[in-house]
Symmetry: C2
Subunit: 252 residues, 2 copies
C-alpha cells in the first residue's frame, strides 16, 4: 500500500436564497454544519459569484434602468431588452464583439465574458446580477470571516461560468481568489530526463473552479463546494493574475 | 445529516516509463493494485496523452527528421530547431500564429494548441512526443481493455495541457473521451425562478481533465487519476464535440 494523495470535493447544500447584507461565511458554516461537514485548515472553499453578488447587493432592478440612446440603438441589432443592454454596457470596459442576443465584453474587473458578467439566471424575475465589484476582496472577506467564526485557515476561490474561444461549452473559472497563489509555476524546473519544462504556469485556481463545478451544477442549488487535500501554495493571491495582458495574448 | 455527494480524485502512482506496445490499461491496473486502489463501475479514468503517445509509438527521433526548406526558413524567425519545426508543421492542419519559440497551430485532430501538440517534456532527450493519432480511439481502447481485464464499466478522458486566450496559465483539457458525453446540456431547462438558462452546455470533460491535473501535476509522475462519484452521462462520447466550429466562435 503506497501513500496516496486524494482530493475530495464536497458540495455544500441547503444555503437559502441569499439576501443583501447576508454574511456569506456565516451561511456557509451553517449549511456545512447542517450536513455534518466541518471545515479544516488547508481547505479551499469555492463559492459561486452569484451568491456573493446577492449578498453585496450587486443586483439591478430592470424597472429602475433608463436605457441611453446608445443602448436603445444597439438593442435593436442585438434583439435584446434595451435596459439589459444598458446594464451590460455600464459594466463593460471594452466591447469585444456584439452578435444577436450576445455582447462579449471585457468587464471592469478585466474578464472577457458574455454580457459583461451580467446574468439573469438563478435570480428573481426582473432582476439582473452583476459580478461582485472586486471579487478578490469578496474572497478575502470570506477567508477572514471563516477564520473569525470557525478558527480555520482556508483559501477561497470565487467562480463564474465563462465561455472560451476554440472550444465548445462553458467551464467554471476563478474570478476571485484569496489565500492561494492562482498560478502554479514550473519556471526553471526540469523533468526526469533533465528537460526544462516549457509549460511554465498552470492556472490551478481555474482548475479548482472547474473541479468544483462538477459538484455544483447549475440547477442543484449547490453554490459552495469545499476542495480538500490539494496542497496549494498559500499567499494573498488575486484572480487578476489570471487575466492575460493583451500584449501577451498569442492565441487570439 | 443531509445526503452529501462528494467527488474523490485519486492519483495513480508508480506507472513505469511507458514503451511502445505497452498496454496502458494493464499498466493502470497494476499500479492501482500496488497502491491498494480498485477501480469501480462509474469511475472516470483520466490519462495524460503523453503515456498513450509513448505506448502507441507516437514518438519521433529528431535524428530521423529531414527539415524541409519551409521548416528551415521558419526555424530562423522562430529561433527553433528546424527539425522540431518540421515535426510541428507535419502535425498541423493550419497555423494560427507564429512567434519566437512558439507555433500555435490547429492539429490534425482539430485542437488549437502550442506547437501542434508536439512536446519534448517527460520524454527521452532527442525525442518528440506527438499527440495520439486519434485520442478518442485510444480512450475507447482503454475503456474496452479495463472492462476485459477487470470487469469494470468506466469512462476514460485523455488529457493534454493547453494554453488559452484571454487568460494566463495553462489548464488540462480533454483531447480524447470514451464512455461519457463531454458536454452537459442544460438546453431548455429552467432555474428555480422559471428563467430558462442561457448557458446551454458545460464542458464537463474539460472540467474533469482540470480536476485531475490537481493530483497529476507536471513532475510528480502521476500520469493517471481516477475521478469517483461524478454522475456523468454515459455514452460513446468524443472530444471532437469540444472543438468549436470557427463559424460559431464568437470569442476570437
Amino acid at each position: 500500500m503506497v501513500d496516496v494523495s486524494s482530493i475530495v470535493i464536497t458540495g455544500i447544500r441547503g444555503i437559502p436564497e441569499v439576501k443583501e447584507g447576508d454574511n456569506v461565511a456565516a451561511l456557509i458554516l451553517e449549511a456545512a454544519s447542517n450536513q455534518g461537514f466541518t471545515l479544516a485548515n488547508g481547505d479551499i472553499v469555492v463559492v459561486t459569484s452569484k451568491i456573493i453578488s446577492k449578498a453585496e447587493g450587486r443586483m439591478v432592478n430592470l424597472n429602475d434602468v433608463e436605457p441611453s440612446p446608445i443602448a436603445l440603438r444597439f438593442s435593436k441589432s442585438l434583439n435584446m431588452d434595451p435596459k439589459k443592454v444598458e446594464v451590460i454596457l455600464s459594466e463593460a470596459r471594452r466591447v469585444v464583439r456584439m452578435v444577436k442576443g450576445l455582447v462579449i465584453a471585457e468587464t471592469r474587473q478585466g474578464f472577457v465574458c458574455a454580457n459583461g458578467g451580467v446574468d439573469q439566471s438563478n435570480v428573481k424575475p426582473g432582476l439582473l446580477a452583476l459580478l461582485p465589484k472586486n471579487p478578490d476582496r469578496s474572497a478575502r472577506r470570506i477567508v477572514r470571516d471563516l477564520k473569525r467564526k470557525a478558527g480555520v485557515d482556508v483559501a477561497v476561490v470565487v467562480t463564474d461560468t465563462f465561455g472560451r474561444p476554440w472550444r465548445e461549452g462553458h467551464t467554471n473559472v476563478a474570478v476571485g481568489v484569496a489565500g492561494l497563489i492562482p498560478l502554479r509555476s514550473y519556471v526553471g524546473l526540469k523533468d526526469d530526463f533533465g528537460f526544462e519544462l516549457k509549460v511554465t504556469n498552470i492556472a490551478v485556481a481555474d482548475e479548482i473552479a472547474s473541479a468544483a463545478e462538477l459538484v455544483m451544477g447549475k440547477l442543484e442549488r449547490v453554490p459552495v463546494a469545499v476542495v480538500r487535500g490539494y496542497r496549494y501554495e498559500a499567499g494573498r493571491g488575486s484572480a487578476r493574475r489570471l487575466v492575460r495582458k493583451v500584449s501577451r495574448d498569442l492565441f487570439r
